[in-house]
């Protein structure tokens, strides 16, 4: 089902989601960036702000019109609300008769991702492949309890390339409701489409009007224009040409720039690697086991025979890029990249994976 909602109608959507007991996670302006946090009303969204994103650069500035979704992908990905940075796996307690081990019930607070972009919706389906077979109980519980309100991107960010990856700018699947904001001099409303039963039920509770053919044409035009505005491109299967280029000289070149800071893996909406740590109380009676995010850019991420398997930055960057863009296809049948551009924006030295993989996919010494 599809309807056209006013700004008030969308504000009501936030109220209705909260009335259903969901915490609503949405983009907010904080610390000079668009981030994600729980909101109580639509007013907390960064109305009238947009972002300038480029390799290693991010700035917010005001725009004339009161767009709710005028900014592109938020600085942080949504993954922490289905795959928290730190999760308690178990608590063990020493008793006279042995050790008892208890596991916490997975947290499953009903929630809504409000204003998630198509690239990030695709990222969730990629994480599903990792964490639902075999099942990670925390992820499964949090994912199940998430209502998805996606937003079509009328203003792509400066580092986006979802159009070429086939992951945007218009949401195509994996949402309960998809919104497209239409904000011109004449009008400010939202085309809303349901993608699931519960999405349709929710739209039915809102005060909208039936869309006209003109509304649909405007939305389609916005999406086409957005796709055309993206300056970068990456075909999802092109990188597989780099499969065996382990010794490409470009790896040395990118390694000379890469700081191995792991920012790209932290902001990536699909990077899923984790480590575990055990803590113990001073008495040595209670021990807890935690899972925390990890990054393949850390020296001790992978080791063999007690020594790091990838001691050079070159090999760690290579592992990240080839996994994301090449071996991910072997493992899960898709690219691990959704074209959100975060790793480019948040790289302190502005390394652009679309440029790097294009160079590496060419034969070493081949013409440019």
């Amino acid at each position: 089902m599809d309807v056209v909602l006013s700004r008030d109608g969308v504000a009501d959507l936030v109220r209705q989601l909260r009335a259903d007991g969901r915490r609503v996670i949405a983009p907010v302006r904080r610390d000079g960036a668009i981030r994600l946090d729980e909101v109580e009303s639509l007013d907390e969204l960064p109305t009238g702000w947009t972002d300038d994103q480029d390799g290693g650069s991010y700035r917010l500035h005001r725009i004339e019109r009161p767009e709710l979704f005028g900014s592109a992908t938020p600085a942080m990905p949504w993954k922490r609300w289905v795959y928290p940075e730190r999760t308690l796996l178990m608590t063990a307690e020493r008793r006279d008769d042995g050790i008892t081990i208890t596991t916490p019930e997975p947290e499953a607070v009903p929630q809504a991702f409000f204003g998630i972009r198509s690239c990030d919706v695709h990222a969730l389906s990629i994480l599903d492949q990792v964490f639902l077979d075999p099942v990670d109980p925390t992820y499964a519980a949090m994912r199940r309890s998430t209502f998805i309100v996606a937003v079509g991107c009328a203003r792509p960010g400066g580092t986006c390339f979802c159009a070429s990856m086939g992951t945007g700018p218009a949401p195509t699947a994996g949402y309960d409701i998809a919104l497209t904001e239409i904000c011109t001099v004449e009008r400010h409303d939202f085309y809303a489409e349901s993608g699931s039963e519960q999405g349709a039920v929710m739209l039915g509770r809102l005060d909208g009007r039936s869309p006209t053919d003109e509304d649909r044409a405007v939305v389609s035009g916005l999406m086409t224009d957005a796709a055309d505005q993206m300056g970068r491109r990456l075909d999802p299967t092109d990188p597989t040409a780099a499969r065996d280029h382990y010794d490409h000289p470009r790896w040395d070149d990118v390694a000379a720039r890469c700081l191995a800071c792991a920012n790209c893996t932290m902001v990536c909406p699909t990077c899923f690697c984790s480590t575990t740590e055990d803590t113990s109380d001073l008495a040595g009676v209670v021990s807890r086991r935690w899972r925390t995010w990890d990054s393949c850019f850390t020296l001790d991420f992978s080791y063999v025979g007690g020594a790091p398997a990838r001691s050079s930055t070159r090999s760690r960057y290579r592992q990240w890029l080839l996994h994301k863009l090449v071996t991910w296809h072997d493992q899960f049948g898709t690219s691990g990249c959704v074209g959100c551009g975060r790793c480019i924006t948040w790289c302190p030295v502005g390394i652009d994976l679309t440029v790097e993989i294009a160079a590496i996919a060419r034969e070493p010494g081949g013409s440019t």
Binding site: I101, Y246, S280, V304
Partner: protein
């Protein structure tokens, strides 16, 4: 991802830095591992490590041979009979001995690599008629660092398996061979083209052994290596053990040379 309690029944000091623990489930046992699979073994308050299974006993009993190389293995090495350790698993793909039925069987171990091969060896010996000729080739640094010496002597006494042991250096009292393990490859009396080889040892040793076996005529898809990488989860979630497209924890640890040759020939993969 949650271990269950196993009690240490016995502990044997194999080498100065290596012990074997015999453990038994406190309550219901985990599924019985197959040779080549591994378990995640947990020391209270310290952490968890992947350990290959070096013995599969009655009623869910397991044996693990542990070399003390880090905090967790140090804690496990210190475990005394009666103590509790946590175990989960079994994980991964082991050696598929059924596929080797009717073929000659070459078992090649380097150093501690004999530990995960031991259950495969015992299973093959228990069903000796299923295989053609059988040879166990063992390489170690020196005679003092050989594992399971009593068993090696028993096996050497059998007439239905050729056991060759070589060390890199030895005192004159050593009556066995001295030289690299690859030297044994061409010497074992098997039909190489019709042999299946199962190999475990340090990565560099396995690389040279796989190349030597190929040179001797063993088909690459009949050479099975047990790969080592650090693992946190055992189920393909934590990402640590990736080697090229493989998650060593679930696609391996036992993988064919066909799949491993390329990644093993690239530095820092």
């Amino acid at each position: 991802m949650v271990p269950i309690a196993y009690r240490v029944e016995w502990r044997r000091q194999d080498l100065p830095d290596t012990v074997t623990l015999g453990i038994a489930p406190v309550e219901a046992p985990l599924a019985t591992p197959t040779p080549g699979q591994f378990m995640m073994v947990w020391a209270f308050g310290v952490g968890e490590v992947p350990l290959s299974v070096s013995g599969i006993g009655e009623d869910g009993r397991l044996e693990h041979t542990v070399r003390n190389v880090g905090a967790v293995t140090a804690a496990l090495s210190r475990a005394r009979p009666g103590e509790i350790v946590g175990v989960r698993g079994p994980y991964g793909a082991g050696w598929d001995l059924d596929r080797a039925t009717g073929r000659d069987l070459l078992i090649v171990a380097g150093g501690l690599g004999l530990a995960p091969l031991r259950p495969a060896m015992l299973e093959a010996l228990a069903e000796r008629h299923r295989f053609g000729r059988m040879a166990l080739l063992v390489g170690a640094r020196d005679p003092q660092s050989l594992l399971y010496t009593e068993e090696l002597e028993q096996w050497r006494g059998r007439f239905d398996i050729e056991v060759e042991v070589t060390v890199d250096a030895a005192p004159p009292s050593w009556r066995g061979d001295v030289g690299v393990v690859t030297k044994l490859l061409g010497r074992a009396p098997v039909d190489y083209a019709g042999a299946t080889a199962i190999v475990c040892g340090p990565e560099v040793m396995m690389r040279f052994v796989a190349i030597g076996l190929t040179d001797a005529g063993v088909p690459p898809h009949e050479i099975w290596l047990s790969m080592e990488r650090n693992m946190r989860c055992g189920i393909g979630h934590c990402g640590h053990c990736q080697l090229g497209p493989e998650f060593i924890c679930k696609d391996g640890p036992v993988l064919s040379w066909t799949r491993m040759e390329k990644p093993m020939m690239v530095r820092e993969r």
